[in-house]
Symmetry: C3
Subunit: 143 residues, 3 copies
């Protein structure tokens, strides 16, 4: 694995920067903007949901429901995506496998590490930004 | 958000590298060097302190007091700053919003996740390095 | 510390990308491939082991034993290396000091933060990739 080439380094750093902006949107409750980081036909598959959410609007609706639940409960969420391993594919997409940790902080309470997962993305570029075409989140210890 | 441009990628990676070096200084008890990563007129605002610390020497004094408390208690601290979203501003400064986690490890004990916060910085360049002109730390679930 | 130079930024981002790929190998139980990220004469020193493991095959054997223990116990491990401070040395090697967090996730259980450590590496380049020549892991609060 030629990990130190400028290409792979730039790619990995670029994906990490995208993940930071993307997940800050979700944690801030900006669900529509977060859903906008998926392609129109994007797919979000997670162990916690019965079947994959297909399409930006479906992904947005699902995320909004969850965000509203946490908002009502007064719980702040922080998603950390890291340890990103990004590899360009022959078809022009990028496959990125990363780890994700989800923290929950109740009002006036201490932070709780709620989840450890892997995150497997197929990323595409669109007018100077990344979009997630397909995301598979697998919960460690469960899925 | 054109997150994958070389400019934004380099900027974000550069700020992340700065944060790593900066917070390793604080966790190592090198308080003067850590304070030196703020501008002379730098401001450090955190929910835990009654009012913002203004000026490098004031920031250093405050950090020294805290560091000595942890040192006496035999507690190691580890500050993780990550999920960095850095954006260049028209005035030449950089605004960086990141997440921060603070771990405490007592002598012979297990690590404890003590805090989850956001960190909003105004960064400026000075002779080839970053300096923090203004930092606002907001504790999740409290502030 | 001229942290924002393109050189240091690229170096730090490159090492972070290497760490992500390297530790994903270990967490996936791909011990031989993980050991292959050390030089043939690589040294792995950690507080938990009586004396440093010297040589790729010894490092691999040690890691395999640990991996099999966790596998039998049904525990998933996630190693996060971050807050990387990488500095080029005059001899052509790179010294990288980072923080590491080790999470354990039992089958069907919640994630547990097991360890916080520092990781001091001497890295060398070999045919387009990084290799660890010497790694010293020091457990916070214990070593």
């Amino acid at each position: 694995m030629s990990i130190d080439t400028d290409t792979t380094t730039r790619l990995t750093a670029s994906v990490q920067a995208f993940y930071a902006a993307q997940m800050q949107l979700l944690d801030a409750g900006r669900v529509e903007a977060w859903a906008g980081t998926f392609t129109e036909d994007g797919v979000f598959a997670a162990g916690g949901i019965p079947e994959p959410a297909r399409g930006r609007s479906t992904i947005e609706a699902g995320a909004r429901g969850v965000a509203e639940q946490f908002d009502r409960a007064g719980i702040t969420r922080r998603h950390w995506l890291g340890m990103v391993d990004a590899q360009p594919q022959d078809d022009g997409t990028v496959r990125a496998r990363s780890y994700a940790l989800v923290y929950e902080i109740p009002e006036g309470g201490d932070p709780i590490l709620r989840r450890s997962t892997t995150c497997d993305d197929v990323l595409v570029q669109d007018s100077g930004s990344w979009l997630v075409r397909h995301r598979t989140v697998v919960r460690d210890g469960l899925d």
